[in-house]
Amino acid sequence: MAPKMCALCGTSRAFIVRPKNQQKLCKECFTTAFETEIHNTIIANSLFVPGERVAIGASGGKDSTVLASVLKTLNERYSYRLNLVLLSIDEGIKGYRDDSLETVKRNAVQYQMPLEIVGYDKLYGWTMDQVVDQIGKKGNCTYCGVFRRQALDRGAAGLGIRHVVTGHNADDIAETVMMNLLRGDLPRLARATSIVTASPASDIKRSKPLKYAYEKEIVLYAHHKRLDYFTTECIYSPEAFRGSARTLIKSLERIRPSAILDVVRSGEDMARLVPDEVSGGARPNKDILVVEGEAEIGGGCGSANGRSSGGEMADMEKQLLDIEHAQGNEIDIALRGQKHDRNCRNTNRMPKKLHKQQMGKCKRCGYLSSQDICKACMLLEGLNKNKPKQQIEVSVEEADSPTLTRRMEGLKVIPVHQT
């Protein structure tokens, strides 16, 4: 069988079949096309401003490694003038992060970017291993996810950086759209699709430059560019609903590769149809959805993009959800994307102004929050209450539970930054 030639240059042998359009490309043309499309996403959504300091949420996994590599390339090629920093979270899972942190350290050298590693123990007084000792192996991804979200924000804030980019890809978004469709959660479905979320609660902007990039292409990009990444799965993550949604998405891709981007776009279209009352309470400005940050997309701990959500923690999740719906302490700037806007009606729908929330500080940790107690502290409270043995007894506040034991560090949870 004669080798097929590249559809773009016609001179080199094709190695890649692009899932979105079945185009057959050589390695070089694929690399260029992949990078250029991410550049187009960045420009179309005005993700960056010149001179901005940006923290890349780096797990050492494929998505964040590709994100770092591509951003470095584009930053130089198109003179974004970004100041890029790698930001890694150490959840404190023995052995689990060792290799991936080593990978991130190598990446820092390879990409000549400064690296900051933030640990759960320092931030929360609990490592994930200790959390698991306490609550068991099931459902702890909820903790990991909530802690992680804040950890990235806190880590960034500690560095004086107000923009965090994460490696969420099209498959992640499609998976989340599907999950929320299957559980009838239209508000979440709507929020999951936005490429930028700004959060007054943390003062940190989050964005997803790889939103339209197929996971398959991310893996191929990493492979053909010989990027140094680490594969791992959170050993604590149970394959639950998200896992099934993921399998469904991959199975659809097998039959119709364009399905992934189609689901992402359907999600965006549906998001536009969700009325304010549904999407998180009545809002004065129709263009703004109020959300709780990244909770929508892969809240687990397998990576920057968690792959699971613990079934056992459904109650806790629901509780958290209710709080979000009631108080909604973050704002989603629903930036409208690009080409899929067939009827152009909404193409340039930008929020006129951000809805101002009355911001306060978490009474426990001092972290900016519109709620009395921030999510992380809510979880920590539960953990600390049930901590059965060892640790220093401090028993404060909760005078009515005399047996309560707490870890000193657990109490002191972090007023690190964000004053």
Binding site: A14, V219, T247
Partner: protein, 111 residues
């Protein structure tokens, strides 16, 4: 194309696993194999044969469904034959050649 004399010899190939799949294969990324160059029915050894062979002979983990579903490579696992997407090579029908490199990459694990 293959002659009978050739079929008597083994067919040396290299199989690699990554993206978490190596965990199913003794946690080893690279495996040098020697396959028979014809299957039991006298057909040239192809990818379908290799996939079955890997499940029957090389997999050290019971979780076969992490690799194969419905007799084919599980959706979400990429297959590269000498660095080229196996879609370009005829997938299961691709007839393996001496010293071919076949890479299986899972995209299902943490990113």
């Amino acid at each position: 194309m293959d002659t009978d004399s050739k079929s008597a010899q083994g067919l040396p190939i290299v199989v690699e696993f990554s993206g978490g799949l190596e965990l199913l294969f003794s946690n080893q990324r690279k495996h040098k194999l020697s396959l028979p160059s014809r299957d039991g029915k006298g057909h040239a050894t192809n990818m379908a044969y290799l996939v079955r062979y890997l499940c029957d002979n090389l997999m050290s983990d019971a979780r076969q469904d992490m690799f194969v579903v419905d007799d084919t490579v599980r959706p979400g696992v990429l297959v590269l034959i000498n660095d080229a997407d196996w879609e370009l090579e005829g997938e299961h029908q691709y007839e393996l050649k001496k010293n071919d490199n076949v890479l299986f990459v899972s995209t299902l694990h943490g990113g």
